[in-house]
Structure formats: C-alpha cells, structure tokens
Subunit: 169 residues, 2 copies
DNA sequence: ACCCATTGATTGGCCGACCAAGGTAATCTG
DNA sequence: CAGATTACCTTGGTCGGCCAATCAATGGGT
C-alpha cells in the first residue's frame, strides 16, 4: 500500500472494500424495503405479507406447502404469517379434502380488497426509485439485476416459480 | 383488455406489474441476503451484526448513539444487538466519562479477529453475484444503484454517513 | 436556582425470518 | 397388510427490525 487513504472519505465501511457493488446493493435494498414498509403500513400490512397476498391473488385456493415452495420461505414462517393474516380477516384456511394433513389457503374478499393498494405501492415505489432514469437506464438496470439474480439462483433458491396449475398448460 | 394472458407465464406476481424493477430488486436483494447469511453463519455472526462490527472496526470507541445514527437503525435494535455481541465477547461496552448517560462501545480483540472473515464474505459475495459481468457492466450496475440510492435517500434515511472524527479533517 | 424540554439508553411487545423437534397423515416397501 | 419412510403442518426458541413507553442525565430558559 503506497500510503494510507486520506481520512474521512468512505461512507462505506472499509472492511467491505472487496465488494463495492454488494454493499451498494445491500444499501439500496434496505432503503427500498424501508420505503415499501412505510407504504404497506398505510394498508395495515407488514412487510412480507404483501408477497403472500400477491401469491394468493394470483392462484385460487392453494395448498400451504405450495405457498412455502412458491415464496421460498420456511414452513414455520408461513404458518405464523397465515395465522395472523387469518386472524385479521385477510385470509381463510381450511382442510384439503384430498389430503387430510394439508391446508388450503385462500384470500377473503377483504384480502382481495388490498390488491389495488399493493399495486399502488409497487408502482409508487418504482416511480420513486427510478426517478430521473431514462427508459434506457431502466432497461439496463433490469437486465443487470436479472444477471445477478441468475448468478445467485443456484445458491439462494428461486423464490418465484410457476408450477403450472395442474390441468392447464 | 383484448384477451386474458396465457396461463403459466409469470414467475412474478401479477399485482406487481407496475414495478418490474422494484420486484427484481427485491428478489435479488433477498437472494443476496441469503447468500450473505450463509457465509456469516460460518463466522458465527447473524446477519446485521456484520454492519455493526464494520462500524466498530472503522471507528474506535464510539458512543452508542453515534452507532444508531451511523447504521440508521432503531435505538432498541442496537441495544439488543450489542448486548448479544457483548455476551459472546465480540464487543466491550463502558460508560462515557464525559456524559454519564452515554455508553461507549468498542470491538474486542476477538471481535477484531472477525474482520478478515467478513472481508472475505464481501469479496466472495461480490465474485458470486457479478460472475460473468464484465468491468463495464459492473460499473454500470454500480452507477445505477447509486442513482436509485440517491432517489431513495430522502425518504429512507441515509445509512452510511461520515461525521468526521472530531479533530481530524 | 429551578423547572422543563431534549438527548441517551433500556425494556417490553410485535412481526418476519430461521432452525430444531414434534405430531399426524399419506405413501412406499417388504 | 404391517412397518418404515416421507410429506405437511405446528410449536417453541432465537435473532434482526420496528414502535411505544420509560428512566436517567444533560442543558436551556426564565
């Protein structure tokens, strides 16, 4: 090292010098999550629940195990989250007649009523995050994020599959 | 709408159509965090603690309030995290002679010993995430993340400041 | 000097996330 | 068909995060 860096230059912790993009990604992801959390709070949703609800909006009554697979979460996480969502009326759960150990989950009408709000959160977040970025930069960012996702997919499992609804496709 | 979309096309929840980049960002951030978590577990660190330790490595004994400000976390989060880090010997805490309600925090030698491992996590993560990306793409990704961070900074406060160590600069 | 607002830190509660362990039902196997 | 294995879910524990309420110490106003 030819000489010590001048003092007072790094907002970034020096121990992360080996991963500048990773640190930037972690930072922006955190801010993004905070911004999302604020907006979800106004819908009376906790961060994380929006993904669950979106899954339920897209597919009808679903086995809980399929939600676990689809969201890539731990089974216990899904159990507890669904208990809370059920208790506040956003979700309905019942036994699966075809498999007595499985549980079928479904969004209630009240749960479905949140959809417009959540869509608004995503578009609002997109508009805020990408303000000042031209269509070109946006496409480039999407492409690069896709590449990183591909790189990480092997190690950190996929969190958005599309197991075809049986009978279709 | 001219006709329903063909079934079985969207790994992405349809309610997020208004924020494709935001959804991609959330996805890659989650995978990134999982990959980081795996590596930190081998160092016997929980995700989140690495940021705390990095702050402590860079600055010597720090007031807890400064850590809170610097990490952008809630005061209670920092209190509990430091209690655990202290209990397992990575951190030492003591009263501030200049302000009897403040607490001075410092990394122990054992805590400092984690630094190489954490640096390795960041470089390893960077290498994994950006595999296959040329220097050009990496720079572009860093630039775009910087822009997004700038956009989010107003709402989701800064999480990496550099209040100059008093006396220097 | 006194009172009061501000700052620093802690506690308790809640939620999302994980792991480990357990229980029940279905399925595979001999 | 009985026994072992696997799949599905639940419970209890821990940790990182937040909010609300609390306490102690500092500092400013009059």
């Amino acid at each position: 090292m030819p000489g010590p860096d001048p003092v007072c230059t790094e907002p970034t912790p020096s121990a992360a010098h080996g991963g500048p993009v990773s640190i930037a990604l972690a930072r922006v992801a955190r801010m993004h999550r905070i911004a999302a959390g604020r907006r979800l709070k106004e819908l009376e949703l906790y961060p994380g629940q929006e993904m669950m609800m979106m899954r339920l909006w897209d597919r009808g009554p679903v086995r809980q195990s399929e939600l676990i697979q689809s969201l890539g979460l731990d089974a216990s996480t899904v159990t507890k989250m669904l208990q809370r969502l059920e208790q506040c009326g956003h979700v309905r759960r019942g036994p699966d007649p075809a498999d007595r150990r499985a549980v079928l989950v479904e969004a209630t009408d009240e749960g479905r009523a949140l959809r417009a709000g959540v869509e608004g959160v995503w578009t609002d977040l997109e508009q805020l995050s990408l303000s000042g970025l031209g269509p070109e930069d946006r496409a480039e960012l999407a492409r690069l994020l896709g590449l990183v996702a591909e790189n990480l997919r092997e190690e950190a499992g996929e969190a958005g599959e599309c197991p075809p609804p049986p009978g279709v496709c």
